[in-house]
Assembly symmetry: C2
């Protein structure tokens, strides 16, 4: 046992260096999106590539694998066993990826993100196309390295949502799609409208930030261990222990964009801030999957932030920040305004109903890119066709079309389905929480968020990567991932709002 303790200590010390490299990498990426002068782009791409290579070297160091093998023979239990098991998984995954591929992907990711920012600003897909082409090739190369037998898209998707496959996603998406299309139809046929004029005034950006950030801290996002900045595309990023940052963008003429983005990212941020400190710097101290991550962000954004009960508490605060602008708006009308269902161009600004059609469109398009049935040059046209088919709208340019999201620009292919999977899970978590805590609306009406955040902390955040995503979902909700709870929620909520 003394030997096992020493070996565990040695293992954690090796993992800490890898985590320290991850901290540097996360900071360099955060900085690239928020602070870095543009002249630093080429140098940054090189440094990211170098550090990814060094991190990979450390992960595939035979001394680390030897420690893992030794500890596997030591009959450890509990978290120690989980730590060894999860380290084995990361080491094996790294070992399958050639160092050179890791370095090339890091460089392409950095240069792709830079090119995308420009392409998006100019609404010029041609600037970005060569980068996307390289990403598709690198993604195929990586999928082949990780598992030459499996479908490449499945391998990529598994990197974000462990244990999931395109077929499993489609099995979930099919009934969801059918029911959502029906729901959109019911909303349209209801003849009802949600008047969005209250949220479409001019709103001072500093006021938007003050309101949304204060509420986020009341949810539980800790600014002593976090901060909020501006970016082209909102994100949350764990830099290191005690340092989890979020970003947003502001629309001075639409109150919804920044505040829901801030609450969404704060949900991610609370997950990262709540990961077990005792396992910080090890695989066990990281999140379970991106689907689980999205369940946290979507829960605060939607189940809390778009609920009537929440606004019954929060609307007075909002009114106080924008004196004179919302005084004559009843809270029910404001709640309707932030829940208006309108087919639109931008995923992160979409309502809860049409949101998933945005995700499904990307899911299909990225499968096409990977299996070769869709050429990169044909992406803008295919995107627009899909939007016409699913949402009945055609983006006027690629800025609000296929250039809107950051993910592909960094080589993130196979990620998008996790947004919908996470949303489904968020409603399952909400139902489970209601069973444990009683009427959550009552708490929301009093502005009491501590019960919700504690429940999530205990069931999800503090678990780190102890369990597989499927196990974690089962333990937290009592069942497997399912779309019924979300559909029940959506039909009830929007039926009430649109009167059917």
């Amino acid at each position: 046992m003394a030997d096992a303790a020493a070996s565990l200590e040695a293992l954690r010390s090796r993992l800490a260096v890898i985590a320290d490299l991850s901290q540097a990498l996360a900071l360099m990426r955060w900085d690239q999106s928020t602070m870095m002068p543009r002249g630093g782009a080429a140098g940054r791409a090189g440094a990211l590539s170098s550090l990814e290579r060094l991190r990979h070297e450390r992960l595939v160091d035979p001394a680390l694998a030897d420690l893992v093998a030794e500890l596997e023979g030591a009959s450890l239990g509990g978290d120690d066993a989980a730590l060894v098991r999860e380290t084995r998984r990361d080491v094996e995954r790294a070992a399958k990826q050639p160092a050179d591929l890791v370095a090339r992907r890091a460089r392409a990711s950095s240069l792709g993100r830079e090119a995308w920012q420009q392409a998006r600003a100019d609404a010029d897909f041609a600037l970005f196309a060569p980068h996307l082409r390289e990403h598709v090739e690198l993604a195929r190369e990586m999928a082949a390295a990780l598992d030459g037998e499996a479908e490449p898209y499945d391998v990529l998707h598994d990197g974000y949502e462990r244990g999931s496959t395109a077929a499993a996603v489609e099995a979930t998406f099919a009934p969801l799609r059918a029911s959502l299309v029906e729901l959109v139809g019911a909303i349209r046929e209801s003849g009802g409208t949600c008047d969005t004029s209250p949220v479409l005034q001019s709103f001072d950006e500093a006021g938007q930030e003050r309101f949304a950030l204060e509420v986020a801290t009341l949810f539980g996002y800790d600014l002593h261990r976090g901060r909020l900045d501006r970016t082209v595309h909102p994100f949350a990023s764990r830099i290191g222990r005690g340092d989890v940052r979020i970003t947003t963008r502001y629309d001075p003429h639409d109150l919804r964009n920044a505040i829901f983005a801030i609450w969404h990212e704060a949900g991610h941020g609370m997950y990262e801030q709540g990961l077990p400190d005792a396992y910080a710097g090890t695989p066990l101290g990281t999140y379970a999957s991106l689907g689980v991550h999205e369940s946290q962000s979507r829960l605060w954004e939607n189940l809390v932030g778009r609920s009537l009960a929440f606004w019954e508490w929060g609307f007075e605060r909002l009114r106080a920040v924008f004196p004179g602008q919302l005084d004559d708006v009843p809270v029910e009308r404001f709640h309707a305004a932030v829940n208006a269902v309108t087919p639109s161009f931008i995923r992160v600004e979409a309502d809860e109903v049409t949101y998933h059609l945005h995700v499904m469109a990307r899911f299909e398009l990225e499968q096409g890119l990977i299996d070769g049935s869709l050429d990169v040059d044909d992406l803008p046209a295919a995107w627009n066709e899909r939007y016409e088919a699913y949402l009945g709208v055609t983006p006027p340019d690629d800025r609000v079309g296929c250039l809107q999201d950051v993910h592909w620009s960094e080589g993130g292919i196979g990620y998008f389905p996790t947004y919908t999977l996470g949303t489904l899970l968020s409603v399952q978590l909400w139902e489970a929480m209601q069973r444990d805590l009683g009427d959550l609306d009552e708490a929301l009406r009093r502005g009491e968020f501590g019960g919700i955040s504690s429940w999530l902390h205990d069931r999800i955040h503090s678990q780190g990567r102890r369990f597989t995503p499927a196990e974690l979902v089962e333990r937290a909700t009592g069942g497997p991932l399912a779309c019924d709870p979300f559909l029940r929620y959506a039909w009830a909520k929007y039926g009430a709002l649109y009167g059917f």
Copy 2:
């Protein structure tokens, strides 16, 4: 020759990885001072320590030493020979420092800086004392590792100013001190005063920044490859190629602090932005010494920024930024206000005459800390005694006393003399420039800074580390470092201002 070319390429490729780690380290340090939430401090200290260790490992990698040895035998000439020579120097210096010491110093530097920020805010030296004690011990340990025969302070100082010693500094400081004490006396006895009321109004911080930063870009500081942020203590930092950042602080009631700090740091920034791109990522692409670095910052801050000719151009611009506040002030009176000689507490805000007494006080105190004649606990008292003796003022608390500068908090001991050495050099460079370019005042009066910045770029910036500091000074000015030019300049300038 083909072999030598391949080995040179291999050498540069190894050096590039080291430079990439330096980029990560520089960014983590910049972030710690500007952006990092305080909760990240412990995690950041650990990561800095890890990455310094990794950087050190790469520097002492036998494969790098082998490449250097091989290339030394290859009869290279010109810059290639200089590159090999400077790499040899860095490798040997690294090899003398145990990896563990490097890691401990990095951690202590990060934690010390964090503690110093708090101690300074609270004016509580006791919070910082244990960190300073550790720095003194680590500095002695490092000096012993680098050269067990030499005086420890000399070894530390040489790390900042290659080839310099405490004795050499003192040989320069002695006549300087005597003449400056005489000059301060002459100013006092002149009965003249420079009215500072024009600069002691309330000045909007955004206006201060707009004015100073715009002028800095006209000097030549490139914001495409840089940015300006706020910190407790102003600094300039090269993050990487194409990314050189500066920071400042603002005093809403004293116009001088931020604008001269910004021009000072922009001077550093221009040096780093002007280093030879062809040697970026190698020792040859770095600065010659900190004294040379300070010559660049002090030149723009003082020779340009505190000159009458400059303000004859710039004052109108400043007036336009603060309408109504300076309209009735003649430019001569404004020039006098920014050159008022007043013994004061804060080095970075001191006038050109008393500035060096601040530096000399630190030079003596840090020698005492290293040779053991001054205990850390006695520093505040010793500091205050020295200020009374040199400047005739006693700091009311340690915030404006021995806690004012960031350097010791990071373990930077032996650095301070370079501020005065650099100032002396700045005047020598100015005189040499006048010989080459003619009357610089004429250019300043027209707001033409391109001649000055080009001259500095050619003679200093673009030379990187091709030459030793002494060689570089000789080549740029035609002679060795000397204090006479500065003293001539100071006596003439302040004689005219104070009428003697």
